[in-house]
Amino acid sequence: VGRLLLLCLLLCGCGARSKPPAVRLVFRHGGSLGSEPFFRSLFEEFEREHPGISVSSELLPANTDQQRQLNAVELQGSSSRFDVLDMDIVWVQEFARAGWLLDLSAYFDEKTRSGFVPSTLRSASFEGRYFSVPRSADAGLLYYRKDLLEKYGLAPPDTWDRLARDASEIVSKEKDPALTGFVWQGRQYEGLVCAAAEFLGSNGVRFLDERGRWAADDSKAARALGFMRDLIGPGRPSPESVLTADEETARLIFGNGQAVFMRNWPYAWGLFAEPGQPMKGKVAVALLPRFPGGKSVSTLGGWYLGVNHRSSHPKEAYEFIQFMTSRRAQTALFLRLSYLPTRKDLYLDPGLLARAPQLAEFERALDRAVPRPETPAYAGLSLLLQSEFSRALVGRCSPEAALRRIRRRAGSLLNPGGA
């Protein structure tokens, strides 16, 4: 009898619960190690406020290239298995051009957009229409050893020449054989394009014109590329190992106290500040230097949310995007996973600034951040730039020759239709 009663109770319990949600949204993203419970709690918050909608994650591999491939394959195959997708900034143009994303202009209107950091908005649109909403931003920064610069009475360098001089001076005076001057990302991969865009951009180079054609000023670009090459080598500011360095390599070298300066993204900040880190309290950030006559440029990175063109719940999908880009969610994402917010007012939020004073410096970099070439053909263009920049850096060819070859190849790459 007891068992029967229990069964009855169970059945009643089930019956009393609310009906299953009518709309099930699938959010496709890369997540990050161990972040699943955190995302789950965010989704639950959204579900509480939007009865009738439930959200689940579909996690992709951590490697961004693989994420892009998996997304491209399924979107091209008109899959409707997922509604909202997380996109690296450089995919937005491509996915929008391919017709894989829903036009969100009607939802993401001017009034809503005015709350966002302006530099992050440009990459969200394609041909004047908004296909995505920026949820997090990234910008290249100059990290430096506060203790060493103070010791020699130096201010953070504002030109590249100063940086090279200061780095060499400090390294020679410190007499520590393990200490190097300036580490950055010189391996042949996407990060090289990000770093090179900053060197070239701070010499006044723009890669593309308004119509998306290759328009780099070859002599200015060659000067910056030549400067990058000449940074590297024995007795020079950068060790030869920058030719194999990605973000993590540079962070490990700098984090071990083996470099005076480093170019990296904001994520590194949080890691240096962790208890027990040798560089805790010795690190500061500044805007990246520039060439004489140029302006400091940071490469813009970030993640953008879009809606699958085949989604059966576009309205609900946008409500979810609205939630994920809200002040509350962005604050939580920043505090928990160090994603930089894209909302302007969060950078002025006294509560947040008290907990993370570095936000003020991050905002300065973000304000002048410049996206990588905005073109649907970005992936192919980047492969070309990686190859030619790397050839110039290791001295396989002159910077001028590399830039001439880029110019020759870029035309058909950027406009494969040949119109």
Partner: protein, 285 residues
């Protein structure tokens, strides 16, 4: 033997479904201009192959792949033969030595590649640590940052990984030589070198040729070891044909040209096998 085709049908259809169908699909795709991002999908005839002929990056990756294949197979053959000869006789600890020999072959390629890229790491690698502590180098060397060194580091990693395969096949060949043959040669007054070149080596020749062909075809298509170590850099110095085809197909999403590159690899492998079989037929005839 009634209706032999019926009995062959399962094998033939499996081969057709798993090998010929994808191959033909790739060939078909390579005759099109297909860029899904730009909604381009039209017939291109041989345009993609014409483009190959004028693509300097293709030329470079072809040269890298040929050199990689020749160098890694030569190293594997020399090291594999030496290992096989050492393990030929019966001695104490032979089973243990066999186990050690096979270890690299058991390690999955991406894991081996990761391991080697850490060994060669400029800042934290054990190789630089040893060379600097013993005074061979004055300062750490960026092994994977210089084109020539990076290519040879990748060749070494690949050879390390596949030498056991070569050794195993050659050992099987050596163990099947009847001992009387070599004893007879010795009795007839041939020295150890002469015996090796006149008796031992010819006896294992068929095995050796098969092993070299297998390995050459594998090296020709090499992807994982190199991709994990350098992803083709620096300056495209380690960009093999497979890596270039992968980047073109999956990253650029230029499906037509990427397929042409993939088909060029298959065609090259066919050419390589045909040339090899022709040459070895001459040698044994």
């Amino acid at each position: 033997m009634k209706r032999p085709w019926l009995w062959l049908a399962p094998a033939v259809s499996a081969l057709a479904a798993l090998t010929f169908a994808p191959l033909l699909a790739t060939l078909w795709l390579s005759l099109h201009r297909r860029l899904p991002v730009f909604q381009l999908h039209d017939w291109a005839g041989l345009d993609n192959y014409r483009k190959l002929a004028f693509d300097p990056r293709f030329g470079r990756s072809l040269a890298v792949t040929l050199y990689f294949t020749a160098a890694s197979v030569a190293i594997e053959l020399a090291a594999g033969l030496a290992a096989a000869l050492a393990l030929r006789g019966d001695f104490r600890g032979r089973a243990w030595a066999m186990g050690m020999l096979l270890l690299p072959w058991i390690v999955p390629s991406p894991v081996a590649a990761r391991m080697w890229s850490w060994i060669f790491d400029a800042q934290f690698g054990v190789l630089n640590y040893l060379l600097v502590s013993f005074g061979v180098l004055r300062r750490p060397l960026a092994w994977l940052g210089r084109p020539w060194l990076a290519l040879h580091a990748a060749i070494l990693a690949d050879a390390w990984k596949t030498t056991p395969f070569m050794a195993l096949l050659l050992l099987a060949g050596l163990r099947s030589i009847s001992p009387g043959l070599e004893r007879a040669a010795r009795a007839d007054g041939a020295g150890p070198v002469r015996t090796f070149f006149r008796v031992t080596l010819p006896s294992i020749m068929p095995m050796l040729q098969a092993a070299v062909l297998f390995r050459a075809l594998d090296a020709w298509r090499v992807f994982d070891v190199v991709y994990v170590m350098t992803a083709g850099g620096p300056a495209d110095a380690t960009e093999t044909l497979s890596i270039y085809a992968y980047k073109t197909f999956f990253t650029t999403l230029d499906l037509g040209y990427g397929s042409a590159l993939a088909f060029a690899i298959v065609f090259g492998a066919g050419l390589l096998s045909a040339a090899f079989l022709f040459l070895t037929r001459e040698a044994t005839a």
